[in-house]
Structure formats: C-alpha cells, structure tokens
C-alpha cells in the first residue's frame, strides 16, 4: 500500500513538474526587464499582450486602460496560473500548494472585511480581490454579497475570526496572517519532513517566516513599538530565528536591533540597505525578498521531481508580476529609472 502511494506521488510530481517546467520557461527572462524599463506604458501593454498575458489584456481592455489595465491583467493571470496549478496537482502536491496559496484567501478575507467596514460597494470590493487562492471568483462574489455577521459565521470555523469586531480590525488582520503561517508550520511536510525535498520545502517556508518576522521587527523598531505590542505579531516556527531569539530582538532600539541581527545569514542581503531609524525600510524589505527568492530558486534544482520546483515557480511567477507592476506603476508615478531598477527583484 505504502509503495503504491509513493509511486502515485512520484507519478503525480513527474507530471506536475513537467507542466511547471514548461510554464516556467514562459516566464520573462531577466534580459526582458531592461527592455521594459525603456518602454512607455502603451508599449509595455503591447509587450505584455504578446506574452502569456494576452487573454487577460484582451478581456480587461474594455474595462480598464493604462497602468490599471496592466495591473488587473497581471493579477488575473496570476490568479488563473495558481488555479491551474491547483487543478493539475493531486495528493501531497495539491495539499501543500493549496495550503501555501491560502495566503490569497487570507488577503481576500481581509479585503472584504475592510471594504465592509468602510462601507464600500460590492463592485468596489470585488475590484480589490485576487482569486489566486482556494476561493474562486464566484466564491468571492458570494462572500461579498453577504453582510459581516454572515461572512464571519461562514468563515469562523476555518479562520480565527471568533469575536470579530470592526474596531479591532488590525488585530484580526494580524491574527489571520499569523494563522496562515502557523497552519503552514503545522503541516507534516514542514513540521516533520520525511523526504529531502520536503525538508527543502520546510526550509523555504521557515525562511519565509524568518523574513516576515524580520520585516515586522524592522518596522516595529523604526516605529518605536513596545515589546508587548510586537510579541503578539511574531510568528513562531522560523528557521534561524526561534521565538526566544525573536523576543530578545523585539523592543530593542533600532541601532541595537540592527547590531543584533548581524550574525544571522540574512544580514548579507540587507547590510547595504540598512540605514538609521529615519531611513526608508523598502531596501531592507526588497533585500529580504531577494533572499527568499534566491533560496527557493537555489533549492529547486536539487530535487526536480518534488514540491520544491513547484514552489520555486509559484514564487517566481509572483515575482514576475511584482516586477512588471513595479515598472508600470513606477513609470506612471514618474519615479526615476534608477529607483525603479533598484526595487526590482531579479
């Protein structure tokens, strides 16, 4: 029975990884970005239309134009790509993928609750959701049509929304994000990885948790938050930063905090961008994102028939969407080429 299961899993990975390799080959090459940097918005839209995003650009061109058209096309394509991955995966890969992509469900729940609190119309809320998780667009439409008590009633079994109050929106948003990462850590493939590929997947997830915690600590140190306020936002289960280390780092003044993280492997990717507490943290965040991407990309070659190359594709696809959006919105906002280039994660 066990051997059948393993065989089944391996077959499933062989098919899925072949599809993913084909999909990955269609991602924009690094050399495309300098070309995109030299284009105007209309040219970028045309360039995008000639690539994988054609269907989305054609479909959305009736409703949007300019940068909005490109961004919505990118988001819709991302959602469809992830949905396709969920549809063609099975067994362990499907389970791990759907758990990983639950971040988009969390994103959509937060958007819907924020929109309801603000009093936005259903169409306004639907413009701001991205159905890249387990909730399809029709599920989201159904959810948006409900009022807040009905939404909470529907979701509270699966998400930590018990006692939801609109006055404590930030608390519930943090709770949802924490819940997402805690659920990932609770997965057997992450908690007790039995195969080497799962170990890499586990490392990837835990690295992401470390990165998320570091970003929280940087922002909290800059804002001068108290330790008690920060501890509630820290996520347990990181790779290099356990809760004891995180609690020690929480609440430190900015200078002491940056001095304390110099021994961690993440420091090399951000050392050039850390300034004083008045400086911008976007360079630090981008450095940490680059670290995550490189980590996923490096691991993807070790076990070609495993979850690792699939996760690498998931991360790379999101990164491609982020990079194109950065160029498009940067152009629209009149940001300098150097600034845009420095924020691209290549």
């Amino acid at each position: 029975m066990m051997s059948w299961k393993r065989k089944q899993g391996s077959k499933s990975y062989a098919y899925l990884c072949a599809r993913v390799r084909a999909m990955k080959s269609k991602l924009l090459q690094k050399e495309s970005y300098p070309r995109l940097m030299n284009m105007e918005l209309a040219e970028i839209a045309r360039f995008i239309e000639d690539s994988e995003y054609k269907d989305e650009v054609d479909e959305l061109a009736r409703r949007y134009d300019g940068a909005n058209l490109i961004e919505h096309a990118l988001n819709q394509n991302l959602a469809l790509t992830y949905r396709k991955l969920l549809n063609i995966s099975a067994g362990e890969s499907h389970h791990l993928l759907s758990e990983y992509l639950k971040r988009w469900d969390i994103w959509n729940i937060k958007t819907i609750l924020r929109g309801k609190r603000y009093g936005a119309s259903d169409s306004e809320i639907l413009e701001a959701v991205v159905s890249a998780g387990r909730f399809g667009y029709h599920d989201l439409i159904e959810l948006v049509r409900k009022d807040v008590p009905e939404i909470i009633e529907k979701l509270k079994r699966d998400y930590p929304l018990d006692g939801y109050s609109e006055d404590r929106m930030d608390y519930f948003e943090n709770a949802l994000d924490r819940f997402y990462y805690e659920s990932l850590v609770e997965l057997e493939a992450v908690r007790k990885p039995k195969t080497k590929s799962n170990r890499l997947f586990s490392e990837m997830v835990k690295t992401e948790i470390d990165v998320r915690n570091l970003k929280t600590l940087f922002r909290s140190a800059k804002a001068g938050l108290e330790r008690e306020q920060i501890v509630d936002m820290l996520i347990p289960g990181g790779l290099k930063l356990n809760m004891v280390a995180l609690i020690k780092l929480a609440g430190l003044p900015f200078d002491e905090f940056t001095a304390s993280i110099k021994d961690y492997p993440y420091w090399d990717s951000i050392s050039g961008t850390v300034t004083d507490e008045n400086g911008s943290l976007t360079g630090v965040e981008i450095g940490l994102d680059k670290y995550c991407l490189e980590h996923a990309s490096r691991s993807s070659h070790y076990y070609p028939l495993s979850i690792v190359p699939i996760m690498d594709y998931v991360v790379s696809k999101k990164n491609e969407v982020d990079n194109i959006r950065m160029i498009v919105r940067g152009r629209e906002a009149g940001l300098s080429d150097d600034l845009i280039r420095s924020k691209l994660v290549l």
Binding site: K110, E285, A333
Partner: protein, 205 residues
C-alpha cells in the same frame, strides 16, 4: 453735511466741537488699528509663505510615496488597505482675536497615528505603505495649519480694507466737513456779534 443745514448757534458749535474731537480721536485710533493690522498681516504673510512652501513639499513627498507604494504593493492592494482607514481626522474649531478681528484657530487630533492605530495589520503590509501613510499624515497636518493661517490672512485683509475706508472717510470727509461747519458757525456768530454791536451803536446814536 451740507453747510446750509447747519444752524449757526452756540450750542450747535459746542456740539460740533465735541463731534470733531470724537472723530479726531476715532481717526487716530483707527489709524493705529490699521497700522497694527498691517504689521500683523505681514507677520502672518511670512508664515503663510513658509507654510505654503512646506505644504507644496509635503504634497510632493506624499505623491511620490503613494506612487512608490502603488508600485511595490500594487494599486489593488493600496485600494484594499485604504478600506481599513475609516476614522477621519477630528478638527476642533475655535476663534482668537487679533486687534478686534476674529480669526479661526484650528486644532486637529487623530491625524498622526502610531503604527498600531492605523487600522491595518502589520504582518500583511509593507513599510512603503507606512511611509506613504506618514507622508499623508504630514500633508494633512500642513493643510490644517495652512487653512488656519490663510483664513486669518483673508479676514485680516478684509478688516484692513474696512479700517482703511473708515480712516479715509474720517480724514477726508467727516473731519473736514465738521471743521468747515465749525468755521461757518464761528464766522456766522462773529458776524451776528458785529451786527449786534452795530445795531446797539445805532440805537445809542
């Protein structure tokens, strides 16, 4: 006041002298008020120039930061996060007195919020959003300061104009007319005095 309407009597002369004295002291006071208001106006004008340039700078920074946040997070994400911000800044409107001119005094609260009070979660957002929010908080604060100063300037200008008109009316119309009427009565009284003296001399002769 037409000269022909003036009754050339001693009581009228006393009345006119009183009025002239009052008009002259009023003129002096209004001139002092006008000069004081002009001084206040120039002081406020310097402040307004500084606030205006700070406001322009703050707007530039806020536009750049929101543009950058849209680039990093996406317009869709910014739209979603913006839904979280429901509380609008509270403004308390009082008034203060500058040389008799009532100008507004605007005090704002809940404009600048700490990271934990902004309504959105920290874990699901990035620092570029914090920077955009901070830039807009500064911008809103500058708008409130500029509104206070610029409204005060407008009110002062209106009052300076009004005071100037009053000063001019007193200086070039009311006081000259009163002086003329006074002179007319004095001349008329002197004339009547001479007529009386002449009449008495004729009766004696």
């Amino acid at each position: 006041m037409a000269i022909r309407d003036v009754k050339p009597t001693r009581s009228e002369l006393i009345e006119l002298k009183k009025k002239t004295k009052l008009a002259e002291s009023g003129h002096k006071l209004l001139k002092m008020k006008r000069d004081g208001l002009i001084l206040e106006f120039f002081e406020l004008l310097n402040k307004a120039k500084n606030v205006r340039s700070e406001l322009d700078d703050a707007y530039g920074v806020a536009s750049e930061k929101i543009g950058f946040a849209k680039s990093v997070e996406g317009d869709v994400a910014i739209r979603s996060i913006a839904f979280a911000l429901k509380d609008v800044p509270q403004i308390k409107l009082e008034s203060k007195n500058i040389m008799g001119v009532v100008v507004p005094k605007i005090e704002s609260s809940q404009v600048r919020k700490s990271l934990c009070e902004r309504g959105y979660g920290i874990l699901g957002t990035s620092s570029c959003l914090d920077e955009a929010v901070e830039a807009y908080e500064t911008f809103v604060e500058k708008i409130i300061v500029a509104a206070e100063i610029e409204t005060a300037i407008k009110k002062l200008l209106d009052d300076i104009e009004q005071t100037k008109r009053r000063v001019n009316a007193l200086e070039f119309k009311v006081i000259p007319e009163l002086s003329e009427a006074e002179r007319f009565i004095e001349l008329r009284l002197e004339e009547m005095e001479r007529e009386n003296t002449f009449r008495l001399k004729r009766i004696k002769a």
